[in-house]
Symmetry: C2
Subunit: 314 residues, 2 copies
């Protein structure tokens, strides 16, 4: 299947009236697209508009694309009408497999097979969702973080029937549309972002269950400890830069033994040579030859900016 140039898309169909569907709709409007929003029932109209208007305030503050306007929104409860003329479909229907499968079966008949569909799902796989779709090749997961009008991450992965070209097209399109796309290597429950967050969350629940910390303690620790660094560097580069000249290699050699310590209830994998090489090589690619002192200075400038932004925003 030959897909169109992702930069030629002018109209997006956004399906769903909840916080995710409405958040996506607001995002695409802010990036200057015409958007047709599909709602299952006309009674959902006001709820959808409330989400969009909430998102619009933030998106305006972040900066709208030229020509972006709420006037470029159309809302319909006719699925076929919503898909008409769409160059991309973001589907954010209810998180129930039978509903999604019925929707994809219908879209499979109604929508030209060269239009990519991205599914907002956290718990379902595309292999399941696309099972009943006659044109499954163009269906991918496009998993946002909540709220989707603010958090840039979109995790993209296909199902067994998905054309790899559709995955590549979706990544290019989301990038053009102002998101931070991450193409998954394979279908993994929880993708990347949710898995990392879920590990932290479950450790937090253990700590509360065992009287080691309260929910307040958990949030104080995150906000004032790892989070300001994570938002700037992630975690691999945080360790890489903190270890100076030696970088991730020093981190793994020096703190490798700590991976066996009971610093969380999650057991670490064996630190094989292969894993060590992947971590070191990945950090070197991200460094791009920059000196650690430059990267540490950039980290500091950005953490300062983040802390000042938080301190000055009520």
């Amino acid at each position: 299947m030959g897909y169109s140039d992702p930069s030629s898309v002018t109209r997006v169909a956004s399906l769903g009236a909840g916080p995710i569907g409405g958040g996506w709709t607001a995002h695409f409007l802010a990036r200057g697209y015409d958007v047709t929003a599909y709602i299952h029932d006309a009674s959902e109209h006001d709820a959808l508009m409330a989400v969009i208007e909430t998102g619009w305030g933030s998106l305006t503050e972040l900066g709208l694309a030229p020509g972006a306007s709420l006037d470029r929104l159309a809302v319909t409860s006719d699925l076929e009408e919503s898909l008409d003329g769409a160059g991309f479909v973001q589907e954010s229907g209810p998180e129930r497999l039978e509903i999604k499968q019925a929707l994809y079966a219908r879209m499979g008949e109604m929508l030209s097979p060269d239009v990519v569909i991205g599914a907002s799902t956290s718990g379902l796989t595309m292999t399941e969702i696309q099972a009943t779709c006659a044109t499954a090749e163009r269906c991918v997961i496009g998993h946002p973080f909540n709220p989707p009008y603010l958090l840039p991450l979109v995790e993209i992965v296909g199902g067994k029937k998905t054309d790899p070209a559709a995955v590549a097209w979706a990544a290019a399109f989301y990038e053009i549309a102002g998101k931070a796309p991450l193409v998954m290597k394979k279908e993994v429950p929880g993708f990347v972002g949710t898995r990392l967050q879920e590990a932290l969350w479950r450790e937090a629940l253990h700590m509360v269950a065992n009287g080691e910390a309260t929910p307040e303690d958990i949030d104080i620790a995150i906000k004032n400890g790892p989070a300001p660094r994570m938002v700037v560097q992630g975690q691999c580069m945080a360790f890489h830069v903190a270890c100076g000249e030696g970088g991730m290699a020093t981190n793994l050699d020096q703190f490798g033994p700590a991976l066996k310590w009971p610093w969380t209830r999650l057991e670490a994998p064996d630190l094989t040579q292969e894993l060590r090489d992947r971590m070191v090589d990945g950090c070197n690619v991200m460094s791009g030859g920059r000196h650690f002192e430059d990267m540490a200075a950039e980290r500091d400038r950005k953490i300062v900016a983040v802390l000042k932004a938080l301190n000055s925003t009520a």
Copy 2:
């Protein structure tokens, strides 16, 4: 032991010439204290000054306390001299038990027993460190996050011999000194912040080891997904506010089953009524009666401010 009023401290002794010791020294100078830095050997002087000067740039940008000056720093390799007149001691010596124990044994003799000592350690417990100190009651852990001149969190916990009043004093002092203190309920390896980060980190290592993600994927996911929300809300309040009217109760009731899903390799604890109540009660305390829409709007304002700060800082 009667400790002095923590707001009466004017001089801090900061022990250690590494990134942690130097970072603490810079922080206390920026908050307007006289600081005497102890270095083990005079040859460490330049390394210490380099860390302090790096930190000073960021601290100046964040805003110095009235009267704060690098001129209020004295550096010595005489331990007794460094402790002279100190109202608080931050110890950031090497992370080796025998070195720490020897240091605390000496300080136990030299330093008035009503002066609290805070230890910068990640992997040792105060029960171990204070074993050879004749005046162990005033010794606490004061665990910073790196870089300590930027990240506000300090996790505080005593050892078996520590006077609870010393823990309370340290929490009050760190707060006055511009940090975000977190008093631990008990000695737990990794404290709170490191445990949460370590759970995330080990899940990341598993994903890289299993070819599910690269280090680049991990960092892209963190920076663009959970981190901008975590830095604003932590994790408990992120879920509480995202679930609308029902808050954390809805989160646990609705997503409770997902705790059994393979969304991370860390198994969740059983979601008992007691754990559910602790989570819900903790979030209600943090909400302080505010409506979820107000809290969501504040979240959005702050995430926008963080994203703008990151986008505008090179």
